[in-house]
Symmetry: C2
Subunit: 247 residues, 2 copies
DNA sequence: TTGTATTTGTTCGTATGTATC
DNA sequence: GGATACATACGAACAAATACA
């Protein structure tokens, strides 16, 4: 007979578990307030610091928010994807990930996002994309910073049009991480204006495919566009892993 | 002139930020140990409780682990998808993430994963998939639990063949969350054997496409297979968002 | 193997600034 | 503005756990 190693369960963890369970089960609804720390330490039968450590953890996970001096105690927050975005960002920032993997993932995501958007978009969402395109056009003459902001707005509009929170979050995270890795190289590019004009042309063709409801074409164009934009920054020996997404 | 509302930054948050940054930048590598709590309270110029609250938050995010009595202090952990899985599970339980979104994301991921695997797989990786398929075949008569394990092994093999860590991690997390939501319904299905046989047939056709190097076909079959398997558990009014991925 | 020193886990008391009534 | 109750933060104290001689 072999026994498993036991890990001691801290007092604060059991406090976290109980409150977390209450929030997730809906016994504590967003907007409601927890009892005060002193009440909680009586209810849970633990010391003050233990209660506070538990509340800190819950707060960092976005489940509650406490303000100094509030006599009503910590407030239960609406469950938001903030924690998901944070943990995803940590994974993507881990240095074990290469630029090729990140770009490949982004090609995969944005390709499918455009495919979905081509079919599921509402007229309002299409208008948002048109607006973002207009801003991009005027931003060509205002420098890379402006252009990049409009570019981001376009991709966000496409992601929103999918109606899928996971696609939006992963898209945002991967885009931010990729940009963080190579932004300096783009800023210092000798022909940044040419880059912007090419990018504009690519985005325009993707948008037309989305407008026509041609998901397959939108996906292909989006992936190709990302490849053309980022491939030169990907080490040559890793570039091969991007090609299968271009068929 | 209008001013923005300021939110007070707690002492423990600044401690968290500094340690988090050090870990994510690689200045603190996994396996290394932080200074003791008493050292940290001197270095940061805060009280011990504040240090402890910061460590608890870092621990709940999976960045460090501290053991009672360890004179070496808290140990920096390797970046793991645990936090990602936890936050995604929480969102799913709180109904912020619907099953339709999760399945859609999985169709998107696995479709592209198979497309990549069809082109990038090594013969060894193909052999792994064949092995997983063999186990699935024999597991049909051994019950759903065995079958599900082999099924997971197959999808993991495909994800590994892409060579992309993000695809593997996101695939694993989303799959586990989806299975957690509907596993009980599958177990209690009246014709679970028929389900397994159908799934087996689908997997077999996907694998043949991967073997032939036909990425487009592999992607289409994989998405279709997921749809057929999970669509009945997706609320009818949300099922439409899965269809654009089936073209 | 058995201490011994050090650390973490936890509690408690106190001081201070803050939000609500 | 004042009273009250609260969260924030500090630090001392003790128990339990760990590493190391």
């Amino acid at each position: 007979m072999r026994f498993d190693r036991v890990s001691p369960v801290r007092a604060y963890e059991r406090v976290v578990e109980q409150i977390e369970e209450a929030v997730l089960c809906g016994r504590l609804r967003p907007g409601e307030h927890l009892p005060s720390e002193r009440d909680l330490m009586v209810q849970f039968g633990v010391g003050r610091s233990t209660v506070r450590e538990a509340l800190r953890v819950l707060q960092s996970n976005g489940l509650v928010r406490s303000r100094a001096g509030d006599p009503r105690g910590a407030q239960v927050q609406a469950v938001s994807p903030g924690a998901l975005q944070k943990s995803m960002t940590m994974l993507a920032r881990a240095d074990t990930l290469g630029l090729a993997e990140l770009v490949q993932f982004r090609m995969l995501l944005e390709g499918s996002a455009n495919q979905l958007a081509a079919r599921l978009r509402t007229p309002e969402q299409l208008a948002e994309m048109d607006t973002a395109m207009d801003v991009m056009r005027t931003a060509v003459d205002e420098g890379y910073a402006e252009f990049s902001r409009a570019d981001v707005a376009f991709h966000e509009a496409v992601a929103r049009a999918t109606g899928n929170t996971l696609i939006q979050i992963c898209g945002t995270v991967v885009r931010d991480v990729v940009l963080g890795l190579i932004e300096d190289k783009i800023v210092n590019a000798p022909d940044s204006r040419a880059l912007m004009l090419t990018s504009l042309e690519h985005h325009s063709r993707v948008l037309e495919a989305v407008r026509d409801g041609d998901g397959e074409l939108a996906a292909r164009l989006a992936r190709r566009s990302l490849y053309d934009y980022y491939a030169e920054y990907v080490p040559e020996d890793e570039r091969a892993m991007l090609l299968p997404l271009l068929d």
